[in-house]
Symmetry: C2
Subunit: 396 residues, 2 copies
């Protein structure tokens, strides 16, 4: 992995959580306090680091992010909250930054206390490991059942200066045994006001991570962060400027790439499918229909079997709560029409074409529900035997 982003250093070490000695503690540190925003899980049950970090990010600044994998520090009560506090305090001390500027994130088994002592002892080594080129180690240190690290980059110009965004995520498709925790981190060297960054992050997360159908379960630990160092030699980005639009687009592109990698990384998932809904009364309606189709077990098993089963797609759309006339519905698999204005139109030839599209690693299903202007999409993956194997056999 080439280069980093100006103003940030990254690290990853083994801190004694994972039994196999793999990297399990990661750190992102900014040279100066960075402008920061975070989006956190909507689950009522929230892990200790989520509660701590949300509070600390209220000020819109952050200088370090301490992340561990292998243990979620969720459902761990007062002791878990104290552990999150102690670890961020220790990292702040070794980094020489205010404790209030250190946030944290955890992912892994829940209901088990962190092995605090070895983790505290690993912090000096973690800080030592920090380097401008350390993103690859950080990306590995935050993984749990992921097949591999997830990194995405984008560049854009502010005036004559090039600004960069580096995105790093973890999360495995539909099936992470530890409740599908998704963590995302986007670092940019652009300079931007905290309220603008926050709005951009909320918007981009809504259109990317929140459009990825994992298995419908929202983790206790989900979090997406954006940090802006302002270290590029570029002028500050004003709200509603052309530069702001470029940053927003680049941020969405990075998060979209990461979200797709998360969906595609479902253990056992063989297909990454974009469900696009058109012709709804509003975008919100279209997204709601796409979400219901993307989350349907019957649709997902049909995707696994490469079965162009328009009936299941239609039935899922029908129970989405969105009003439409079934006689106006059309469905395409890739470019192949399989259902047209309320009537199946598959011939032996189109069925075989549709089935061969469905064998691809990535493809799109388009569902038109009427003549409205509403449009929306959702990413999903197939539901196969591996899903059951991993999730039913996880603890036994």
């Amino acid at each position: 992995m080439s280069g980093g982003v100006k103003g940030f250093r990254f690290a990853g070490v083994h801190g004694g959580i994972k039994k196999d000695g793999a990297l399990d503690m990661g750190l992102i540190a900014a040279e100066e306090p960075a402008t920061a925003a975070g989006v956190f899980t909507q689950n009522r049950v929230r892990a200790a680091p989520v509660v701590l970090s949300e509070r600390r990010l209220l000020g819109g600044s952050c200088q370090a992010l301490l992340v561990n994998s292998g243990n979620a520090n969720a459902c761990t009560g007062r002791a878990g909250r104290q552990a999150a506090l102690n670890l961020t305090r220790a990292a702040a001390a070794v980094l020489g930054v205010p404790q209030a500027l250190v946030a944290s994130a955890s992912t892994g088994v829940i209901g088990v206390q962190l092995p605090q002592q070895p983790m505290l002892e690993a912090i000096p080594a973690l800080v030592d490991d920090l380097s401008a080129n350390g993103a690859a180690r950080f990306a590995r240190a935050i993984l749990t059942t992921d097949r591999g690290p997830k990194v995405a980059r984008a560049e854009f110009k502010v005036g004559w200066s090039v600004c960069r965004i580096l995105g790093i995520a973890k999360g495995a498709g539909m099936i992470h045994p530890n409740m599908a925790t998704t963590l995302g981190f986007a670092m940019t060297d652009a300079s931007i006001h905290r309220s603008t960054l926050r709005r951009m992050l909320v918007h981009a997360t809504e259109r990317t991570f929140n459009r990825a159908s994992v298995d419908g379960d929202t983790s206790t630990n989900d979090a997406v962060y954006a940090l802006a160092s302002g270290a590029a030699a570029a002028r500050p980005i004003a709200e509603k400027s052309a530069a702001a639009r470029k940053l927003a687009a680049a941020l969405e592109e990075v998060l979209e790439t990461l979200a797709k990698k998360v969906v595609a990384d479902g253990e056992g998932a063989e297909h990454l499918v974009r469900i696009e809904v058109r012709g709804a009364k509003s975008d919100a309606d279209a997204v709601q229909v796409a979400r219901t189709i993307a989350g349907s077990q019957l649709v997902k098993t049909a995707l696994h079997g490469c079965d162009p089963n328009w009936g299941r797609i239609l039935a899922a759309a029908g129970r989405s709560g969105v009003g439409f006339n079934p006689d106006h519905v059309s469905v395409k698999i890739g470019a192949v029409p399989i259902f047209d204005h309320g009537v199946p139109v598959m011939t032996a030839k189109t069925e075989s074409k549709a089935a061969s599209t469905m064998k691809r690693r990535e493809y799109e299903i388009t569902v038109a529900v009427g003549k409205g202007r509403g449009i929306g999409h959702y990413w999903t993956c197939d539901l196969g035997h591996e899903y059951v194997r991993i999730n039913a056999d996880y603890r036994t």
Copy 2:
């Protein structure tokens, strides 16, 4: 199967739909027009017989119910609507009853036209087959991928007279390839006003069939009917009388038994699990939490693996949209506490006890979310390899 219910006759024949010559057409006929009520799928995409029957039941009377399996007559457009009309007209003619008093239901593949000609030709034989003891044949004629027929009975007294309810259903747990269609029929010889019967049916369906987590997909064809012949030598049941309460309880008991049979009949489902939620602010809140837990893929795969995974239960509760304090949550598997007031309490001993409870065919998981009076339940089953095999490999 012993006996029927006064005032009704039942039949089942092969009408040329199923390739293997199995029974695929069923008929329920009342001697006189029966008081009738129906509850129909909320899916926007509704099969032709659903649309036809809902309209015909508006008057609160029905004398015959024509049911076929093997073909859902859904997404079949104008031709499908005409077929439903033709078939009920033919049945009415042979039975000698008004066409407006004949309702119909279908279940099976969707998007394929009914083989109308052989079905029309089979109607005289179907009417010939009618008998007071024919319920077993009817129960078989409406099955699709069910493991076997589903019948339930109850009795209650109105004054000195015994009244009966006979319930017959089809539907296979979480996984029916044809979108999990559930059909339910409850026949009683009690005498009751149509508006009272309707209220009772809506209430009982809400607490039984609508508390059974299939796979979250609502079929195009789901329907539950109640028919009252008034043929028992009992006085008419007045609303809010003791007899009305007895009938309501008996109806709920019959539908509950049928709904459990439907959930338990998931191909591959090995466990029937009642999720009970207590301590919510309202019953509606409790049901909502129970529904979210019951529908969670991660919970259902854990049930399959006999894994007392309170984390997944808690995470599902947390995203149900219902407010509660995680520190007040407790979870029991059967009688075994595994999570108590926000903290896991499993020891090696209780874990093994919980795991052995989870090996049972049927058990309960209780989730207390606070000190409120709200209580509610949901039936669910485990998600195993068979589910994937059947649903992914259905057409291929």
